[in-house]
Structure formats: C-alpha cells, structure tokens
C-alpha cells in the first residue's frame, strides 16, 4: 500500500517537475505566440483593440476570416525585405566581429592559471551587472561629436574636426559587439576549458607546430562552442531594437525599428504582428540547425 502511494507520489513529483517548464512555455510562449499569430491575420481597424477579430460567431455560423493582406503587403513594399536583409546582415557582421574578438579572449581565459580564471570570468560578466540601457547610453557619451573620444583626439591635436561616429552603422556595430560579447565568450570558454591538453602534445609529438595544431585540433574541436556563441548573439541581434534606435542613424535599417514604427507610429498591429511572425520563421531555421548540431555533439560524446 505504502509502496503504491510512494510510486504515485513519485510519478506525481516527476510529472510536476517536468510539468512546470511545460506550463511556463505554454503561458509565456505558446499563448502569446497564438495571439500574435491571430493578430497577424486580422485587419486594421480604428477601434479598441485596433484590429478586427478573426473568429466571429453570428447567425448560427462560425466565420473564420484569415486576412492574408498583411503578409502580401510585406511583399509589396521593398522596405520590409530590405529591413530583414539589412537586419540579418548587420547581426551577421556584428556576430562575426564578436567571434573574432571573443575567441582569443575565451582562449586566453581557458589557458590562464586556474586561480585566475574565476576572476577573469567575473570581469567578463561584471559590466552586465549595470543596466543594459545605461551602458548603451554611455556609448553615446563616448561616441558623439562632442563625446569623450572626439574631444580627446581634438585636444591631442590628432584631428581638427570631430569624426562622425554617433548615429552611424559603425556605432551600431560597436554597441552590438560590446553588448553581446559575453554571450560569445562564455560558450567558447566553456568548450575550450574541456579540451584535453594531451591532444596538443600528441600533435606536437607527431611533428605539428603549435599554430598548425591550433588550426587542425583546437579550432575544429571548439566548433560546438563557436556555434553556440554565434546563435546566442545572432538570434537576439537580428531583432535588436534598443542599440540601432539609440546609436544608429536614420539610414540604419533594422527590423526591430520597423516593427516599432508599425506598432506605435502607424498603429498597424496586424502588419506589425505579421512582421514579427516572418522574423520568427527566419530565425527558426538557424535555431533548428543549432539544435541538430547540439544533438549530434551529444550523441558523439
């Protein structure tokens, strides 16, 4: 009897444990997703809320009206395609820059003496203890025409006129690389720290000089870390709004900004919703690749 109760409570406990994340995903992902999907198929109306309802029941008939116009409209206007492409391009460039910067940092951390590593890790994470917004604002103070960098260069006599950095794509790249660098460094570091040093000794023993051993052993073995870092930065960077809004210029075209404008300036919720849906689809592809890669790594381990 007691064994039965124990088994029941055991399976109940297990179900609750598994159930909580499922419930979480249902409440905070699946339901909002369904709402956004629904809005994307509605029509804009001057009302509260500012869109028509998709499902209507009247005269004993259930009418589901799916308005595809929003999606067709996205195809109609070049602006949206350009915004998607430009977002992906900016995010891609910024992510590659962060990888080029982050990999050596992660490598140095993984090779540092054990007692130093915690400190170095803390230094990487420390900036994110202050508000993201404040840190981006701080870059405005550094990059603007009368900012710290220009003032310093002028007073040193290196330049006479300020270099225009603020409100350019350059500033957006700086902001993105700066903000997301920890997300690139940490997975690469976590990967590199697991590497078996005897592999490099074996490579050297077999006649391979250190630089070549890095290219043929370390780099291929850290692929999973590089990919994880790439995904962790690239996916949020595509939809980034704050950095292009604060640091970017009028010609910085990113989907996050377009979405904002559709939503708040045009008050066109359905078009904004369909923009979000398309962005989600675009991002799902790299996420799927990432997951398949991870599954493969797990299998191999």
């Amino acid at each position: 009897m007691s064994a039965f109760v124990q088994r029941l409570s055991g399976s109940l406990g297990r179900r609750t444990l598994i159930g909580i994340p499922f419930l979480w995903l249902l409440l905070f992902f699946l339901i909002p997703f369904a709402i956004v999907l629904k809005i994307s198929f509605a029509e804009m109306q001057i009302s509260i809320p500012p869109y028509s309802s998709v499902v209507e029941y009247a005269d004993e008939s259930l009418n589901i009206v799916l308005n595809l116009g929003n999606y067709l409209f996205l195809l109609d206007d070049d602006l949206y395609a350009a915004a998607y492409l430009s977002s992906i391009q900016i995010a891609l460039n910024a992510t590659l820059m962060a990888l080029l910067l982050g990999y050596p940092m992660a490598y140095a951390m993984a090779r540092a003496p054990a007692h130093m590593q915690t400190t170095l890790l803390l230094l990487i994470l420390l900036p994110s203890w202050t508000s993201f917004l404040i840190r981006i604002y701080a870059w405005m103070g550094l990059l603007s025409n009368k900012g710290l960098i220009n003032n310093a260069l002028i007073s040193l006599g290196v330049i006479t006129d300020p270099i225009p950095m603020m409100n350019t794509n350059f500033a957006v790249y700086i902001g993105m690389v700066y903000a997301y660098l920890p997300f690139v460094i940490l997975p690469i570091y976590a990967n590199l720290i697991k590497h078996d040093q005897s592999l490099l000794e074996a490579a050297a023993d077999l006649g391979c000089p250190p630089w070549k051993a890095f290219l043929t052993i370390t780099l291929p073995l850290s692929k999973a870390g590089i990919l994880a870092g790439f995904m962790l930065m690239f996916i949020p960077a595509v939809g980034e709004f704050v950095i292009p809004e604060l640091l970017g210029g009028p010609d910085t075209l990113m989907i996050g900004k377009v979405l904002w404008q559709e939503f708040f300036n045009n008050r066109d919720w359905p078009v904004a919703a369909s923009l979000a849906m398309v962005m989600l689809l675009l991002l799902i592809i790299p996420i799927m690749i990432f997951h398949r890669q991870q599954a493969k790594e797990l299998e191999a381990a």
Partner: protein
C-alpha cells in the same frame, strides 16, 4: 656483488641510440629528476619502473620534448636534441590516455603525423594501410575513436606513433587504461609488434609485472634517481638496495652483522633469527661497517614442521596468517623476535598437508638464496 646470472637476453649488447647525460629537472626548487644518466641501446625495450612521483614520467617527457631539462643533455643517435621542440624530434610517443584526435577517424589519426612531413597522398595512403595491417585494424579504418574499445584505441595509438618510423618509441604507462585481463594479452601483442618493427622503445610504468613481461632491461627510479638498471632477472635476483628488493616483488629482510667473510662463504648473525645466515660465496664488503641487511625472497623461503638439521639458515616460528591464492599460498610466519616472514608454497596437490594456522613451524632456505644489501 652483482652476480652475472645466465640471462636469456633477447638483445645482444648494441651501441646506445639514446644517451641521457646528467639530466636534472626541478619544479619550483623541487627535484623531479636528479642527475640521471642513462643509455638506451639500439633495438631494446627499456622500462623505467617506479612509483608515482619517482620522476619517471618527467624523464620521459623531457625525452619527448614536453619539458625542458634544468641541466644536462639528451643525445639521440649522437645528435644533441636537448633544445629541439617536440615537433622536430624524431621520437614518437604513445600517450597514457592515447590522446587520439576525437574528430578524426582511425585513418586520419594515423595519417596525421605523415601529413606533417609533407608526404604525397599515395605515400600516406600506403603507409596508413601498412600500419592498419600491422595492428590488425584495417576493418575499423573509418571509425571514430569513441566507437572503439580500449584495446582497439591502444592499437590505433600505437599505429599512429609508429607511422613516422621514429628512431625511438616512447610509451607512457601503455597499459594504464586497460583492464587486467586485456592488459596481459596486449603486453605480449605490443612486444611482438615492437620487435617486428624493430624500433627502440622506452616505456614508463609503475607495474613491475608489466615491466618484467615487456622489457629487455629495467631501470628502477626512486626520488628522481635511477637506483638500479639491469635485466628483469638481474633486478629480481640481485637487487642492490633495500628499495629495489622491496619494490620488486616481496622480500623478507633481516638486519644483521657480518661475522665471517671468506672467499667461499660468509656468515651473518641477526638477532631476528634463531640461527645465523650462511651465504655460499664471499661478499667482499669492508668489515669496518659490518651492519648489513639480508634479503630472502618468499618463494625461496621454505616451510617445514621438523627442525632443520643444519645449524644455519633457519628460524622457528608460528603460522600467523595464510593467503590462499589458488596457484600458490602465502604463509605469514611470526618469528620469536616478532618479525613476520613470508613464505610461498605452490599448491601442487589438491589436498596437501600444508601447515595451518598457529602451527609451530620452521622457515629455512638454501645458502644460495640470501642476498646481502648494504643500504
């Protein structure tokens, strides 16, 4: 003192291919290897045997080039390689963990070293095939290391380290990652392959059985120094120190002092034994320091119920404990002095009348058995 026993040496004496000359290595002032000199002869299998922290691995890593000696030189075939980086030394090592590249298959692992030499594709292919044949791994050529068993991984590691035809093969605890049963099988297989190839081999191990099975010569290392070198038989039968005697196999050791030392015999008296020890040859020590130790191996220590007729080489005792090990039993006999003596008896009969617990017995040995140790 070292008696030249008729060693069935597998290798006639040949010139040294590796000369380690007064090598010292310190880590933060601590001596890991202390003024070691060693000659490895061409074609032999030499085992460095020692406990952990004896410096054997450090010595091996200095020869491979992973550690820089604090002082001393290493010559390979007459050429000074002390300052060469590992990737320029014509020696290859099989690592204890095998260190196979996990992202490459068996073929690519073996080809790795050959690619570094810039060999042509067809040459590499032929050599890889040859190596796969040598270690009987041809059908596993496309497997990744994680798809192989421990023994198969070891074969791949061996093939990889032999592929470049090194002047010397270094083995770091070659059986360390294998279970006991596989170990015995791989020891002989490894020796066969190494002898087929004819490569000079230096191995490091803490396992005396492994060293004795595989090596032509053994060097015992302790506290960064080589205490004794010789064939397995030399080292077992004629240890030159208490350390060696106790490290290799087990040993009954009695402290005593020399009373007689003639050309044909010597007598040593020990307060631990009822009768003095007689040795069938002179020991030629200086009598100024008559304090010595006498070592007798357990399998040369006989056990009997009746008192020996001789006046020497025996002691009375009581059976304290018996360890039955199937092929043989080890008897622990407590002497009146309190010292416990080990005696091994072969269980050649299924139901024999061996002594049992608390029996009053006598331990005795032949006058050719005891070895006198000064340190």
């Amino acid at each position: 003192m070292t008696v030249d026993v008729d060693t069935p040496s597998r290798q006639p004496e040949k010139p040294a291919i590796l000369q380690v000359q007064t090598i010292t290595k310190t880590f933060d002032g601590v001596y890991a290897v202390d003024d070691v000199s060693l000659d490895i002869r061409k074609g032999e299998i030499f085992a460095l045997l020692g406990g952990s922290g004896s410096g054997k691995s450090t010595l091996l890593r200095m020869i491979a080039g992973f550690e820089k000696p604090t002082s001393g030189r290493i010559l390979l075939d007459g050429q000074d390689i002390t300052d060469l980086p590992p990737y320029q030394r014509p020696v290859n090592m099989m690592f204890q963990s095998y260190a196979l590249f996990p992202h490459m298959n068996v073929e690519q692992n073996i080809a790795f070293g050959l690619k570094q030499d810039g060999l042509s594709k067809s040459e590499i292919k032929a050599r890889v095939e040859e190596m796969l044949n040598l270690v009987h791994m041809t059908q596993y050529a496309r497997r990744k290391p994680h798809q192989l068993s421990g023994g198969q991984r070891q074969r791949v590691a061996l093939a990889r380290s032999l592929a470049k035809k090194p002047q010397m093969l270094l083995l770091d605890e070659p059986m360390g990652a294998l279970d006991k049963k596989l170990r015995t099988q791989m020891q002989l297989e490894l020796v066969n392959i190494i002898e087929d190839v004819g490569v000079t081999c230096l191995m490091v191990t803490h396992d005396q059985e492994e060293a004795m099975t595989m090596a032509d010569r053994i060097g015992i290392m302790d506290h960064g120094e080589i205490v004794q070198t010789g064939s397995p038989k030399d080292i077992y039968e004629s240890p030159n120190s208490r350390m060696t005697a106790e490290f290799i196999g087990s040993c009954n050791i009695f402290e005593g002092s020399i009373v007689t030392d003639e050309a044909d015999h010597a007598v040593i008296e020990s307060h631990l034994l009822d009768a003095p020890v007689r040795i069938g040859h002179g020991i030629a020590t200086n009598l100024e320091n008559p304090q010595v130790w006498v070592a007798v191996r357990p399998e040369k220590t006989m056990l009997q119920h009746s008192k020996p007729a001789s006046n020497e080489n025996w002691s009375s005792g009581v059976v304290d404990d018996i360890a039955y090990l199937g092929t043989h039993s080890v008897y622990y006999v407590r002497l009146p002095s309190g010292q416990v003596v080990q005696s091994t008896m072969v269980n050649s009969e299924r139901h024999s009348h061996h002594p049992t617990w608390n029996d009053q017995v006598y331990v005795c040995w032949d006058e050719s058995s005891p070895v006198v140790l000064n340190q």
